[in-house]
């Protein structure tokens, strides 16, 4: 007779590392990053003119979430060598050895393809194409090409994370209008100051891993000045959807106030002597940048839910 207990345990060893649990696979999908992506994608869905059946709205959100997570899994597969060096990423499933690299790659590729196909069949192929493009951009352009080669990695690579509002918009309308491009541009300009704030107080980690983040290559002062420039560019751009008819006045006022606060954060970082203060202002700016994006797109959603009256 076959001992099923032993067979099961052998299967477990053969298929994956013994310590892998379903939680490790969830962790491969970078759930925290996914939440921002889902939220901005949902805002694009809500802001777009037209109507989409609630089931298709749910499908769109699910596809955006799964696709972003899958790209994150492939990113973790490719970056497992540097992830094992940086203290922030050392405990991830791949560098800690809990998940087999080949399994992580297969998991990511399967979910990427599946999310694009489901989006195309269920919603429309314009949205599916942008979803596939965003995923490919994140993996091939950012992760494989730029990340280890240039300090402009997150400037150009940031485009990948800026696609979700455009995808949400395209899911409803079947095309890409100027307002959708503006929402894309908002996230695109938000990305560099967000990541550079993090890089300022994590530059040792990036240096150790050989990732040419701006503070490592060009120094703190250049990073701070460029961060301030991006927040200043964002200040007039974020309220722009109002002037394109995609949001109400309340959104424009809120976006402007948030933008001013973001500029203040960047200004405080510029004046800060990081090593002396423990990068307090940079840490605050990083936290505020996350709040900024949630609040900005939250305003956009609230504006449309209330019919543009706020």
């Amino acid at each position: 007779m076959i001992d099923l207990t032993v067979a099961a345990s052998n299967q477990a060893e053969g298929a994956s590392r013994p310590d892998a649990s379903w939680r490790d696979y969830v962790e491969l999908l970078k759930p925290r990053v996914m939440s921002l992506v889902v939220f901005t994608g949902f805002a694009g869905l809500v802001a777009a003119p037209g109507h989409l059946h609630p089931v298709l709205v749910l499908t769109t959100i699910l596809c955006i979430a799964v696709s972003a997570g899958a790209a994150g899994a492939i990113n973790m597969w490719y970056d497992r060598d540097i992830d094992s060096i940086m203290s922030r990423t050392r405990q991830r499933p791949l560098p800690s050895g809990r998940v087999d690299p080949d399994e992580a790659l297969a998991f990511g590729v399967f979910l990427s393809v599946a999310s694009v196909v489901v989006m195309g069949l269920a919603v429309n192929w314009v949205a599916a194409s942008i979803l596939g493009l965003a995923s490919a951009f994140y993996v091939f352009v950012y992760t494989i090409w730029l990340k280890r080669r240039t300090p402009q990695n997150i400037v150009i690579g940031g485009a990948a994370g800026a696609f979700p509002p455009m995808i949400g918009w395209a899911a409803v309308t079947g095309d890409v209008s100027l307002a959708a491009v503006v929402l894309f541009a908002v996230v695109f300009l938000w990305t560099p100051p967000h990541f550079w704030a993090l890089a300022l107080f994590r530059s040792d980690d990036y240096e150790k891993a050989g990732v040419p983040m701006l503070p490592v290559v060009s120094g703190e002062r250049t990073t701070k000045i460029q961060s301030l420039v991006y927040t200043l560019l964002l200040l007039p751009l974020a309220p722009a959807p109002t002037f394109l008819g995609a949001a109400g006045t309340g959104y424009a006022i809120g976006a402007f106030v948030l933008g001013v606060l973001f500029v203040v954060c960047a200004w405080r970082v510029l004046r800060e002597d990081g090593p002396a203060t423990g990068y307090k202002a940079a840490k605050q700016m990083f936290g505020f940048s996350v709040f900024y994006l949630f609040a900005l797109f939250g305003l956009l959603i609230a504006d449309h839910i209330q019919g543009g009256v706020i």
Binding site: A12, A20, Y25, H53
Partner: protein
């Protein structure tokens, strides 16, 4: 015994993964079913 505990832990994790996969597959089938209904209804 430590070896038994290790085996039991592996089986527990394997069972957890199998259940998670089953749930994901069932959810996927249900999603495709509902999408089909909506699309056929002109949604």
């Amino acid at each position: 015994m430590p070896a038994d505990d290790d085996l039991r832990e592996r089986q527990r994790r394997l069972r957890g993964k199998n259940i998670a996969l089953l749930c994901a597959l069932l959810a996927f089938v249900a999603l495709i079913y509902v999408i089909s209904i909506v699309r056929m209804g002109g949604g």
